[in-house]
Symmetry: C2
Subunit: 343 residues, 2 copies
């Protein structure tokens, strides 16, 4: 095992950033100067996310490679939510001295894998020591033409509300990992039991940004009227669209896409699967509105579910249950939800 | 005092980012969506820096307002080092629960003040809790036309090596603060003694990005042949220019700009002022090369010092002392220097 101080800051950066994937994304200058230079065709799209050990991730059950991948994916998801194309990222790491060079190689392997998947470049970053734990701060840059950019505040009355993929599985994956962690803490000889849980674990540990949805919508010539990505939970994101667009949403419980594995796990945990879908968070799916006139075109796109529609702002945000009852939606985000389940 | 959890993440961001300065820097969408949208005239310039409590700053003697200002300035300094114009920043904060809303207001006051000074916008960010201490990650975006961008690897044989401002004062300011901290730890009733040290403290606690130099060079129509900002120390930056441009530099001890207050303090600490200038770090001045033909034009720009010139790579990097001796330069950066003085 190699200690970080053996390489020094510059040596470490050089070591980690060798063999980087390289795409022709307008990068005039990447790593190695005071700043990166990009020639961007259209408007620049910029987003940033910070992940802190012990708050956003637990290295007891998170492989560093998956963590690296996820740290990139969550940023690319935000670029997608503007209907934009990702181009590159900067990666800043704060590292405590308990990390070896080999550990950081694993983290970077995940980062590089995500860069390959999303066809983006690492254009810069910063590596420094931290007093405690690992801090990852990634900024992603993308491009979009002015006509194609999609905001949160432009949903219109009568629009259809759509969501990609399925909801709640990442939250249930987290609960599963937390449960097995407790078992492990009580008896380190116990093997974790993750049989038939592959999907839940993958959704929690290695989410994907839905760049494929953005590409398919472009193919069928649909520009959503408003869009957001689901990081805090469906309810919370519906409230963002609602508040910013000054409109209400009516959604239908029976339309919420929930994976079989998630539904089974929710029952096993004695939680309502619908609550997981509404408030679980970390799905990194896209939530968007389209004009009703785009319905036929939307049918050409796989893996999208119409879950409701836009109503006057005065009607608020409501869910129609399977039994036909109307309930007001609550804007419970991931944090609030976690606190609730803890009691 | 208000606890952060009373406002929640969204409430806190809303509170801190009210009354932001706003400049017409091509910002189509700032804070409030999944990502910011900027229409950039020319190439985009991107740089990022992470500051961690206990590693990069000590809140025992660093006022939060100054810290906020400095966190912005060091990033803008990197934008300037590409000969570019800064446009905006994203601000990510990791905050432990010992910080109050009022403390973060102070930090943000400094950030906003720097934004006013450099005429830039806050276009996004992320605020989350940390397990320990304060983490600040800022990414700055700027613009530059392709013809004007200045790299590190383009210095030419015979070029003049120039530096703005003066060197070593920030390092001495830090030593002063560390000394008074020790005094305070031993006897909390002792008042710190900072008489006649205003300049040193200001250089350490509230450095400025030299955007004024970039503007003045443009006015007199000088495009440096290569440029870098001095964050780790003059020697270390000379080695970056040298390695990347495949050229050597000869500098003259008597030409190194050192402020009177810095020189006096160095003598008081029994350190060689030249060593402080070479290896002190955190000066955030610009180090650049110009063609000899630009000499007359350079004389029109205030606060720039010619400290040497470019020689063949095989001659390496050397310093001619006041006594006329030639010494090889050592690439001691700030970190190495600190360790040396400690041991």
């Amino acid at each position: 095992m190699t200690e970080i101080k053996d390489l020094g800051e510059f040596g470490l950066i050089k070591h980690l950033t060798q063999d980087l994937p390289s795409y022709d994304n307008g990068v005039i200058k990447g790593i190695g100067d005071d700043a990166a230079i990009l020639l961007i065709d259209g408007s620049s799209v910029i987003t940033t996310d910070m992940l802190i050990e012990g708050v956003h991730f637990d290295l007891i059950y998170t492989p560093l490679k998956h963590l690296g991948y996820k740290a990139v994916a969550v940023n690319i998801s935000d670029i997608c939510a503007m209907n934009a194309t990702p181009l590159g990222i900067t990666v800043s790491l704060g590292i405590s001295n308990r990390f070896t060079v080999e550990a950081l190689e694993e983290l970077y392997d995940g980062i590089k894998l995500a860069c390959k998947k999303y066809k983006i470049n690492i254009i810069g970053g910063d590596t420094c020591s931290s007093q405690k734990g690992l801090v990852i701060s990634i900024t992603a840059i993308g491009k979009v033409s002015k006509e194609n950019v999609v905001y949160r505040n432009t949903a219109q009355l009568g629009d259809l509300l759509c969501v990609s993929g399925d909801l709640g599985a990442a939250y249930l994956g987290l609960q599963l990992l937390e449960r097995e962690k407790q078992v492990y803490i009580e008896d380190p000889n116990m093997k974790p039991n993750f049989e038939n849980k592959t999907y839940l674990l993958q959704r929690q540990m290695r989410p994907e940004a839905r760049i494929d949805i953005i590409e398919k919508l472009a193919e069928v010539k649909i520009i959503p009227t408003a869009m957001i990505d689901i990081s805090d939970g469906l309810s919370s994101e519906i409230f963002h669209l609602s508040e910013q667009s000054r409109i209400g949403f009516k959604i239908y419980e029976e339309k919420l896409p929930i994976h079989d594995e998630a539904r089974e796990q929710a029952y096993a945990f004695n939680i309502d699967p619908t609550l997981c879908a509404l408030s679980g968070g970390e799905d990194y799916e896209l939530l968007f509105t389209i004009r009703q006139a785009d319905y036929n075109q939307l049918m050409l796109v796989h893996d999208i579910h119409i879950i409701g529609h836009a109503v006057p702002h005065s009607e608020g945000n409501t869910i129609i249950t399977r039994g036909g009852n109307i309930h007001p939606l609550k804007a419970l985000g991931w944090n609030a939800f976690t606190e609730n389940t803890k009691g």
